[in-house]
C-alpha cells in the first residue's frame, strides 16, 4: 500500500506541465534514435546527456528514460518494415515481423509489436513499483561485502546468460575493468597505467566508450552492408488495429511468460537482447504449431517484443535500488544520476522521493504516450529511413563527435571515441559482447572499492563473502552463474549427449 501512495505522489510530480513536455520530446527523440541505424538507446542517451545538465534531475531523468522507451518502440518499426533491426533487441522481431510485412500484413505486425511492447513495459513497471521499495529497503542493510556480491552476480550473469563464448565475455568484461582502473586510484592516490601521461590521468570515461562502441561501430557495420535500405511502407488504420487487438488476447500465456523472462533478465543483467531471443525460443517450443514460426506467425512478434520491453524497463530496478545498471542504457542513466549529483542506491528511495517516484510514475505515462505516438506516426518514421544513408551517416558521426566532446570539453575524447568505434566494429564482428565491457567500465571503480572495503573489514580473508546466509547465497549463485556453461555442458553429457536441440528443427 505504501508503494501505491508513493506512486500517487509520483504522479503529483508529473503534474508540472514541463515534465509532460520533456516526456513527449523524449519519446519522439527516442523513436527517432531507435529508427536510425548507428544511434541506439545507449549512445543516443549518452549524446543527449550533456543537454540535461542544466535541467532539474527529475525532468532530466524523465526525458532520458522517455528516450529509452521511445528507442525500444522504434526498434520494432525498422525490424518489421525494413528487416533491419534498429536495435539489437529487435533482431528476434525480424524473424516473423518482416515475413508478415512481405505478406502485406505490416500493419498487423506493427500493431502487435507496439501492443506487446506496451504490455511488456506495463507489467515490468508494475513489478518495479512494488518490488523496488522492497529491494531498496533490503539493500539498506547491505555492507560492502553484500554490494560486492551483487556486483559479482551481475558480472557472472553475463557469463552464464550470454550467448557468446564465455571466454570472450570474460575478456570483454575484464578489459572494461582494466580501462576503468586507469587513472588516479581514489584510495591510495597512486597513478595506475598512465605511463607518465597527463591525458590518461582522468581515465576512460564510459560515456565516450558507449558513444564510440555503439555509435561509430554500428555505422561501420551498417556501411559494410551497403548504402541503401529497401522496405515496405504502411499506414496503420483504426480497423487494422482493432482486428489485431481482437486476436491478441489469445496469447495471454505468451505475454505472461515473455514478461516474466524479460523481467528476470532485465533485473539480473542479461539485458533485453537475450530476453527477446529466449522468449522467442520459448514461444516456439510451447507453440502448437512451431512450423509457422519464421514464416509470419504473429506470436513470433508478440513474444520477443514483450520480453525486450519488459527487460529494458526492469533494467532500471537494480539501477535505482542498488546502483547497478542492468543494461548499457541504464548504465548511461546511472552516469547521469552521478553527474546531477544523486547517489544511486537504496538511499535514493529515502532522500529523493520526488525523483524516484516521479520517474516511476513517468514510466506509466510515457509508455502510454509512446504507444499512441508510434501507433499514429509509423509512415513518418518509415519515410525517415528512406533518407539515403550517405546523408544520415555523416550527421550521426558528427553527433557522436559532439556527444563525445561535450562530456568533458576535451578534444582528445573525440579521438578516443573514434578509437572505441573501431574496437566496437572488430568486437562485434568477432562476437565479443559489448554490454559487459561497458558495464565493467561503469561499475569498475564501484566494484573495486566495495571489494577493497570488504577486504579491509576482513583483513584480507575471502571468507567474508560467505560470512552470512545472504552474502553467501548471492556469492554461491554468482559462482554457479560463472560456471554455468561448464555445468550445462556436463549435464548434457550426463543426459547422454547429443540432445542439444530438443525441439528438433
Amino acid at each position: 500500500m505504501d508503494a501505491f501512495l508513493s506512486l500517487i505522489h509520483g504522479f503529483g510530480v508529473l503534474a508540472d506541465p514541463m515534465n509532460i513536455v520533456y516526456m513527449c520530446v523524449g519519446v519522439v527523440l527516442g523513436v527517432l534514435i531507435g529508427v536510425l541505424p548507428g544511434l541506439g538507446g545507449a549512445n543516443g542517451v549518452a549524446i543527449l546527456l550533456p543537454l540535461t545538465f542544466s535541467m532539474s534531475p527529475t525532468a532530466a531523468i524523465i526525458m532520458l528514460s522517455s528516450i529509452y522507451w521511445g528507442a525500444l518502440f522504434g526498434g520494432a518499426i525498422t525490424s518489421v518494415l525494413f528487416n533491419i533491426p534498429g536495435e539489437p533487441w529487435s533482431v528476434a522481431t525480424t524473424f516473423d515481423g518482416h515475413p508478415m510485412a512481405q505478406q502485406g500484413k505490416a500493419d498487423e505486425a506493427l500493431t502487435a509489436a507496439f501492443t506487446s511492447s506496451f504490455i511488456g513495459a506495463l507489467l515490468a513497471v508494475i513489478v518495479i513499483t512494488f518490488l523496488a521499495p522492497v529491494v531498496a529497503g533490503f539493500a539498506l542493510r547491505f555492507g560492502p561485502a553484500e554490494f560486492f556480491a551483487v556486483q559479482l552476480l551481475t558480472f557472472c550473469s553475463f557469463v552464464g546468460m550470454g550467448r557468446e563464448s564465455p571466454f570472450k565475455v570474460l575478456a570483454a568484461m575484464t578489459l572494461g575493468f582494466a580501462l576503468a582502473a586507469v587513472g588516479l586510484d581514489s584510495v591510495t592516490g597512486q597513478l595506475r597505467m598512465t605511463f607518465g601521461t597527463v591525458e590518461l590521468m582522468r581515465g576512460f570515461d564510459f560515456l565516450i566508450a558507449v558513444i564510440g562502441l555503439f555509435g561509430i561501430g554500428e555505422i561501420l557495420l551498417t556501411m559494410e552492408e551497403g548504402l541503401s535500405f529497401r522496405g515496405k511502407s504502411t499506414t496503420i488504420t483504426l480497423r487494422s488495429v482493432m482486428n489485431t487487438w481482437i486476436r491478441l488476447p489469445r496469447f495471454w500465456v505468451t505475454y505472461l511468460r515473455s514478461a516474466a523472462v524479460g523481467c528476470w533478465l532485465g533485473i539480473t543483467p542479461g539485458g533485453a537482447t537475450p530476453a527477446s531471443f529466449m522468449s522467442y525460443g520459448l514461444a516456439r517450443r510451447f507453440s502448437k504449431d512451431p512450423g509457422n514460426f519464421g514464416k509470419g506467425e504473429i506470436e513470433g512478434v508478440v513474444a520477443p517484443e514483450t520480453a525486450a520491453h519488459a527487460a529494458g524497463t526492469s533494467a532500471l530496478l537494480p539501477m535505482l535500488t542498488l546502483g547497478i545498471p542492468g543494461s548499457p542504457t541504464a548504465a548511461v542513466m546511472l552516469g547521469g544520476l552521478l553527474i546531477w549529483g544523486l547517489q544511486p542506491g537504496p538511499m535514493l528511495f529515502i532522500e529523493q522521493k520526488d525523483f524516484v517516484w516521479g520517474l516511476i510514475a513517468s514510466m506509466y505515462l510515457s509508455n502510454v504516450i509512446g504507444f499512441l505516438i508510434v501507433l499514429t506516426t509509423v509512415p513518418l518514421w518509415a519515410s525517415i529511413l528512406r533518407i539515403p544513408f550517405s546523408i544520415i551517416a555523416p550527421v550521426i558521426i558528427v553527433l557522436c563527435c559532439i556527444g563525445a566532446y561535450t562530456v568533458h570539453n576535451a578534444f582528445l575524447d573525440v579521438v578516443i571515441m573514434l578509437f572505441f568505434g573501431v574496437i566496437g566494429y572488430v568486437f562485434k564482428k568477432l562476437h565479443y559482447p559489448l554490454a559487459p565491457l561497458v558495464l565493467a567500465l561503469v561499475l569498475g571503480d564501484m566494484a573495486e572499492s566495495s571489494f577493497r572495503q570488504s577486504m579491509l573489514i576482513s583483513q584480507g580473508d575471502m571468507s567474508i563473502f560467505w560470512s552470512n546466509w545472504l552474502v553467501g547465497s548471492i556469492c554461491s549463485l554468482a559462482l554457479a552463474m560463472l560456471f554455468w556453461p561448464l555445468i550445462a555442458l556436463m549435464l548434457d553429457k550426463l543426459r547422454g549427449g547429443g540432445r542439444f536441440s530438443p525441439g528438433g528443427a
Partner: protein
C-alpha cells in the same frame, strides 16, 4: 565447442539467427576470421600483460592498511590474460576454426571510405572548430559516397551545422570547439 551452449539457451535454431556467411571468394578475401581471432586475442593478452606489469609496479600485494593499488587490477589482468589465451588456443588448435572471410574487400573498402574522411574530419576540427569541419565533412561525404551534386549537398551541409550551432551555443549554452571564423563573427 561452445555452440552447444548457445543452442541450450535458445532451444531451437532461430531463422536468420545464423551468421551471415560471407561468400568465400578468393577475389574478396582479406583475412580469415581465424586470423582476426588470433590477432585480437593476442592483442588482449598484450594488454593484460601491460595491466599486470603496471599493477606489480604500483604494488599488487597487501600493505599494512589493506590491499595495494595494484591488487584488484592485477587479478583483472590475470583473468583477461587467461580468457584470451583460451580463445587464442581454441582458434589456433581447433580444426573447426572459422576460416571464412572476416570482411570482403568491397566491404572493407566501404568501411575505409568512412573511416578515412572521419580521421581527416577530426584533424580539420582541431584547427577550424567543429562547425566548419562538420559542414565540409557532410558535404564531402554526400558527394563522394552518395554521388550527390554540390547543389544538393551544400544546403544540407550548411543547414545542419547551423542548427547545431543554434542548439548548442545559443539554446543550451554548451560551447563546442570553434575556430577563426566563429571568432571573427564574435563567438
Amino acid at each position: 565447442m561452445f555452440m552447444e551452449r548457445e543452442q541450450n539457451l535458445v532451444p531451437e535454431s532461430l531463422p536468420g539467427d545464423g551468421e551471415k556467411t560471407t561468400p568465400v571468394s578468393d577475389a574478396g578475401l582479406t583475412v580469415t576470421m581465424k586470423t582476426m581471432e588470433l590477432v585480437v586475442a593476442g592483442l588482449l593478452m598484450l594488454v593484460a600483460a601491460i595491466v599486470m606489469y603496471d599493477s606489480v609496479r604500483v604494488g599488487a600485494g597487501w600493505a599494512f592498511d589493506g590491499p595495494q593499488a595494484g591488487y584488484f587490477p592485477f587479478f583483472i589482468g590475470l583473468i583477461l590474460f587467461a580468457a584470451s589465451a583460451v580463445t587464442f588456443g581454441i582458434n589456433l588448435f581447433s580444426r573447426t576454426a572459422d576460416l571464412s572471410n572476416f570482411v570482403t574487400k568491397p566491404a572493407l573498402l566501404l568501411v575505409a571510405k568512412v573511416l578515412a574522411p572521419t580521421v581527416i574530419y577530426l584533424i580539420v576540427m582541431y584547427y577550424v572548430g567543429i562547425y566548419i569541419a562538420s559542414a565540409l565533412y557532410i558535404c564531402f561525404f554526400m558527394m563522394w559516397l552518395g554521388k550527390y551534386s554540390i547543389r544538393k549537398a551544400a544546403p544540407v551541409a550548411i543547414a545542419i551545422p547551423l542548427v547545431l550551432f543554434w542548439l548548442f551555443e545559443i539554446a543550451f549554452l554548451i560551447p563546442l570547439p570553434k575556430g577563426p571564423l566563429e571568432a571573427a563573427l564574435g563567438f
